[in-house]
């Protein structure tokens, strides 16, 4: 990001998500208002018309999710944003996007749950829902943002991954990131890498809409582009037609997973800070990784060799990066604003390292001091 070409702006996290989406080429938003995500819809309603894009406020989140899938099928990059209660309503159509392989981005600005919970307090309780919320075996990409700058960059990445792998990408934010205002330098549009879905390179009569290839990601034709085909949430054959033949069903489900597995190196994004010689580490994500960074710096200033692994991609779980940390460090702390969701994934890596939880579920942020104290006591 070059400071000289960039644009210096004071933004809140929700606004930075909007800027990131627009920079990535998003031109369609459909959603339903909910705290603490509403600013995303509000900004989109303001910005999209001038860009020849479309905003629509739907009757509920089910409809919002349906509409963004429709828009994406028609060839337009699309976004919806919500919080816990709305995210729950989106699950069925989110599964449709997985099955029909429709690129789209869903932002969930997390608040305390279950149910209506605490609508204006931050939490990280929806991590496993993001991974497994819709029924059935399905691959999904889940990214987490921790700062306003992140909101911009990660949203661009979310669209790029959605387009490249033909999957819904879920961006997990939380009430703190959403409403924190920071000065950020937005990159010059020319400096932003934007990836678009691959359109078929063959004439329409040769197009096989769900044909496998080395990447496992079929080319995608927009409705109205001359490549007429069938799209369904039923398990389908390579032509898109429903099938119950065991070998076709098996090939379909396995390809859905393989296309993500093939892309692990690119999809699993993490950030290591002061990890080179670390003996003790914090593995964190979202707003909490910010507190963790501060705590690690504090520890370093007292001569403790601490480091941070920030997970930007939560799923597919960045096992390789985590494994490296677990091999290197004696003890690892996993602070989360939930009862312990990612810590289970970390523990599943299953090395001899001691993995310690730090949970907060009172709607309050985990502070740097808390993490620092915990590190000292480990």
């Amino acid at each position: 990001m070059s400071e000289k070409n960039g644009q210096r702006r004071l933004l809140q996290g929700n606004e930075a998500i909007v800027e990131g989406a627009l920079a990535a080429g998003c031109r369609f938003f459909a959603g339903y208002p909910i705290t603490p995500a509403s600013e995303i819809a509000e900004m989109m309603s303001l910005r999209l018309p001038a860009l020849n894009g479309t905003f629509i406020q739907m009757e509920d989140e089910i409809a919002g999710m349906g509409a963004i899938i429709g828009a994406s099928l028609a060839g337009v990059k699309s976004l919806t944003a919500t919080s816990g209660p709305g995210f729950s309503l989106m699950q069925e159509n989110l599964g449709f996007a997985c099955a029909a392989e429709v690129p789209c981005v869903v932002v969930n600005v997390m608040r305390v749950g279950p149910s209506t919970g605490l609508s204006t307090s931050p939490a990280q309780g929806d991590v496993m829902q993001a991974r497994w919320g819709t029924h059935g075996d399905h691959p999904v990409i889940v990214l987490a943002v921790s700062t306003v700058v992140d909101c911009f960059a990660t949203t661009v990445q979310a669209f790029n991954l959605a387009e490249k792998y033909r999957v819904p990408v879920i961006v997990l934010s939380d009430e703190i990131v959403a409403h924190t205002r920071e000065t950020v330098v937005l990159p010059d549009p020319a400096d932003i890498m934007v990836i678009d879905r691959i359109h078929p390179g063959v004439p329409p009569e040769w197009y096989i809409p769900y044909e496998d290839n080395s990447r496992g990601v079929p080319a995608m034709a927009a409705m109205g582009s001359g490549y007429r085909h069938h799209v369904t949430g039923l398990i389908h054959d390579v032509r898109g037609f429903p099938t119950e033949r065991p070998e076709e069903v098996d090939a379909f489900i396995r390809r859905l997973f393989r296309k993500i597995t093939n892309g692990f190196a690119e999809i699993q994004i993490t950030r290591s800070v002061m990890m080179e010689d670390a003996e003790i580490a914090v593995i964190a994500y979202g707003a909490v990784s910010r507190s963790a960074l501060r705590a690690v710096r504090l520890a370093r200033s007292r001569g403790i060799r601490a480091g941070l692994l920030q997970l930007i991609t939560l799923f597919p779980f960045p096992r390789k990066a985590v494994e490296g940390v677990l091999r290197q460090c004696r003890r690892v702390l996993v602070p989360e604003m939930n009862m312990g969701q990612m810590i289970r994934e970390v523990k599943r890596v299953n090395l001899a390292t001691e993995i310690v939880r730090h949970n907060r579920v009172d709607g309050q942020f985990i502070t740097p001091a808390e993490i620092y104290d915990h590190l000292l006591s480990m």
């Binding site: 999710m65 099928l73 699309s78 069925e92």
Partner: protein
């Protein structure tokens, strides 16, 4: 069936899809499909500009058979997907086909809001007064007192009149037809598709397998006869008393009004924003 009609149908059916279809012999869904194809042919719409989107149910299987851009969505949500498609690519003609349960139970909220917004879509609702696909459970249009697999002792709920509901919710064009009055249905569908704004065509259709069987109408012919006897044209109904109309329903055009549709209005917003 004349040779000409058959060839028109074959022009629009998918040849790479292995028939036979999933519907029971004599199911009204096939008649609606034939009628839809004739209406599209009459309007001279190109296959590439057409989208047929459905929900889930027996009716929901219709898109797979026709050679358009086709979409089989989730139960009740066809209109939400269709809304996204239409707004993203307004040049496309977007038609949805739904069952009565699909459109007015699980999808009821989407249905009234699509009508209220007046988005330029056509909603064909095949009203067979039952949940066909899942085995004859009662739907929001199952008549009071009739029988269903979840109304073994008789249905105690009251039915939605779908077309009238659409008129109240603000649809630009609303009509009701039946699978018995197939020629009339061709015309209603063509008018609905051609109409700018939200159009609803409710089609009374036979599910003899799940509804008829439980209600002394075991076969398609008996059900057809029933539709023939109970349908009253809108004009004639206007001269009849409520008592005379009791167990009958109107067919024909219930509403045809001109008002700004969502996309026209949104285009004005874009122009305003761009001048700003």
């Amino acid at each position: 069936m004349s040779e000409k009609t058959n060839s028109v149908r074959h022009d629009y059916l998918r040849h790479d899809k292995k028939f036979p279809h999933v519907w029971c012999p004599g199911c009204g869904n096939g008649i609606v499909l034939g009628s839809l194809i004739r209406a599209i042919d009459k309007l001279g719409l190109g296959k590439d500009e057409l989208v047929l989107a459905s929900g889930i149910g027996c009716s929901g299987r219709m898109p797979v058979y026709v050679d358009f851009n086709t979409l089989h969505t989730t139960h009740g949500r066809a209109l939400t997907f269709a809304t996204g498609i239409k707004l993203a690519k307004p040049a496309l003609t977007v038609i949805t086909v739904m069952g009565d349960g699909d459109a007015t139970a699980i999808g009821g909220n989407h249905f009234i809001h699509a009508a209220r917004r007046n988005i330029d879509l056509t909603a064909i609702i095949i009203n067979n007064q039952i949940y066909g696909m899942t085995g004859g459970q009662y739907s929001p249009t199952t008549p009071y007192g009739s029988f269903a697999s979840t109304a073994a002792w008789g249905n105690i709920e009251h039915a939605f009149p779908i077309a009238e509901l659409a008129v109240t919710a603000g649809a630009s064009f609303v009509a009701r037809g039946t699978v018995y009055h197939a020629a009339m249905l061709d015309g209603l569908l063509a008018r609905g598709i051609a109409k700018k704004g939200f159009s609803v065509i409710e089609v009374m259709s036979n599910c003899h397998t799940q509804y008829g069987r439980r209600n002394q109408m075991n076969d398609p012919v008996t059900m057809m006869r029933h539709f023939k006897e109970k349908a009253v044209s809108v004009d004639r109904a206007a001269k009849m008393s409520a008592e005379e109309m009791n167990d009958r329903f109107t067919i024909g055009v219930l509403a045809d009004v001109d008002k700004p549709n969502y996309m026209e209005e949104y285009q004005k917003i874009r122009e305003r924003a761009q001048q700003h």
